[in-house]
């Protein structure tokens, strides 16, 4: 029997509270959705229509496609470069970051060794360290190594996800049975092979969760690139759009491109969340419950 069936059958739901609640939910939903709707509508207008007319409805003609083309080609297609950079930073950072966090969390959950708890506590302490406190010393260290204005300076620090290790440890402890590992050992499988063929599958939902939230964290990253990068060609989308936005007073046509660019920058995350929601919601539950 499902939860809703049990809840619905066990008590009457009177019409008045349902109507009031639904009204409240619809008002709140519009608060969350209207700004996104406005972004879509505004992206389809020219500058004149943007400044007057109904902000929440399309005006004729719908110029969404022309505006996208304009934003993508402006300044030698720098926007395309930013999007590519963001994909590299977030994609590579999240894939490798998740793998390393999964391996570390698995080791901390499944092996007994001296210093295990100390290691875990130091890593967990890393969750409490504000990411912004790291950006400046990282910049100075990368400068000393002559690597500050490079992709490495953004990529390498993004590979570390202490919260990912925490989630992976919780999940490995509950989802990977010790008996299974013993059985694999008796069959003669190496520890690494067992991890990559058996354990990693059982940890699936947690890994998707870690991947997604690491992807979002890197995609949203702003302070580190701001401190680290001089070369606009290496910027991620966030920093690039911020730069455009602060130039609007000098080049007014940028306003429209910032709006269209903002819309475009959201699309990959929306797709990722929708496509993977079946997995990450399970993983999120685990983290929230056990924390």
């Amino acid at each position: 029997m499902t939860r809703t069936a049990a809840g619905g059958g066990a008590q009457r739901t009177r019409p008045l509270p349902v109507a009031t609640t639904m009204l409240f939910m619809v008002i709140c939903a519009s608060y969350f959705l209207v700004p996104l709707w406005w972004l879509l509508v505004a992206s389809s207008k020219d500058r004149a229509a943007l400044n007057d007319g109904d902000g929440l409805w399309f005006s004729n003609p719908i110029l969404l496609w022309d505006n996208i083309k304009g934003a993508l080609s402006y300044d030698n297609s720098i926007f395309v470069r930013w999007a590519f950079n963001s994909l590299i930073y977030s994609g590579v950072g999240a894939v490798l970051g998740t793998l390393f966090a999964a391996m570390a969390g698995y080791a901390l959950a499944k092996y007994v060794f001296p210093g295990r708890n100390a290691t875990f506590n130091v890593i967990l302490g890393g969750v409490l360290v504000p990411a912004t406190a790291l950006a400046l010393p990282l910049f100075l260290l990368f400068s000393k190594a002559g690597q500050a204005d490079t992709m490495w300076a953004i990529l390498l620090p993004s590979l570390v996800s202490p919260f990912g290790v925490y989630l992976a440890r919780i999940f490995a402890a509950s989802a990977v049975p010790d008996e299974l590992l013993e059985a694999a050992r008796i069959d003669g499988a190496s520890e690494f092979r067992t991890f990559f063929t058996v354990a990693i599958r059982l940890m699936g939902p947690a890994l998707v969760t870690i991947f997604l939230f690491q992807f979002v964290a890197i995609w949203n990253n702003f302070f580190l690139p701001l401190v680290m990068l001089q070369d606009t060609k290496l910027y991620p989308l966030t920093l690039g759009l911020h730069t455009w936005n602060s130039q609007v007073t000098h080049s007014p046509q940028l306003q429209l491109y910032v709006i269209v660019g903002s819309l475009l920058s959201i699309v990959p995350l929306v797709i990722a969340f929708l496509a993977l929601q079946r997995f990450w919601r399970g993983g999120l539950a685990e983290g929230g419950v056990k924390a």
Binding site: F100, M103, T119, I123, G126, F273, V289
Partner: protein, 309 residues
Amino acid sequence: MATSVVPPQLAQAPPPEPTRRRRVRHKGAIVGFLGPFVALFILFYLTPIAYAVWQSFHKVEREGTFGKATEVFAGFSQYTRVLENGDFWASIGRVLVFFVASIPLQLGLALLFALLLDSPLVKGKSFFRLAFFAPYAVPGVIAAIMWGFIYSPQISPFPQVADNVDLLGPGLVMFAMVNVVNWVYTGYNMLIIYSALQAIPKDVIEAATIDGAGQVRIAWSVKIPAVAPALVLTGVFSIIGTLQLFNEPRVFQSISSAVGSNYTPNLMVDATSNIPDYYFAAAMSVVLALITCTLSFTFLKLTQKRAFG
């Protein structure tokens, strides 16, 4: 008791020495699994922290105005500068006010939404869940830029409001930013709490229903205590997030004269590093990190007694 040589529980238990001295099994695997993360953690977490702490105890001395710069030990002098800096404490005060204006409302609404989605009062749960969570897909900087347009009288879709209320003036700009932060994170926190609600065993809810408890009573006496750990988690992340507030005020700097370069501690660290005065900036970062850790720990200790009994 203090003089007893062998504690009774140890005398009865099998001697622990052999197990402790037994060689660690799967040493290679442990090193292989932990190695990559630990190496990166040391390089890109511990080293910068150590470097910032080292810098905070140093300063630059020059021979003459344009002479060669040398780093010399400065004791606590950078920290004295931080402690005596009125702008720094004003910025800390501002983020604390920001926290009070933002987090109770944000987490309160997140909890309310989660409870409503978990109750039989709401139809179309998956639509509302996604609608409330959607803003989380918008990066903080982009959300700030977008709301900046919505607040500005020229292109706001709500000109009646934006024309008549100075949303970006000194009186309201903080709430304008609170709104941006809450818009992005309420749904995210809702989802964490909602996931915890889903994990409550169904028979507990059923038993409460059979005992005649209404929805409100069940929410108050069964569900909220059960999701307390999730609330604590979201609370800690909110403390850390608010104290290091940067993206939103940085974007609002360019559209509101009420947001100065010392508005939040992190804006001040950034401005100081642009002078550049890295040593002073490092000391500010260390103080900020210490305040953050102290507040999150205090919050954890205060709530753990309630949340975890």
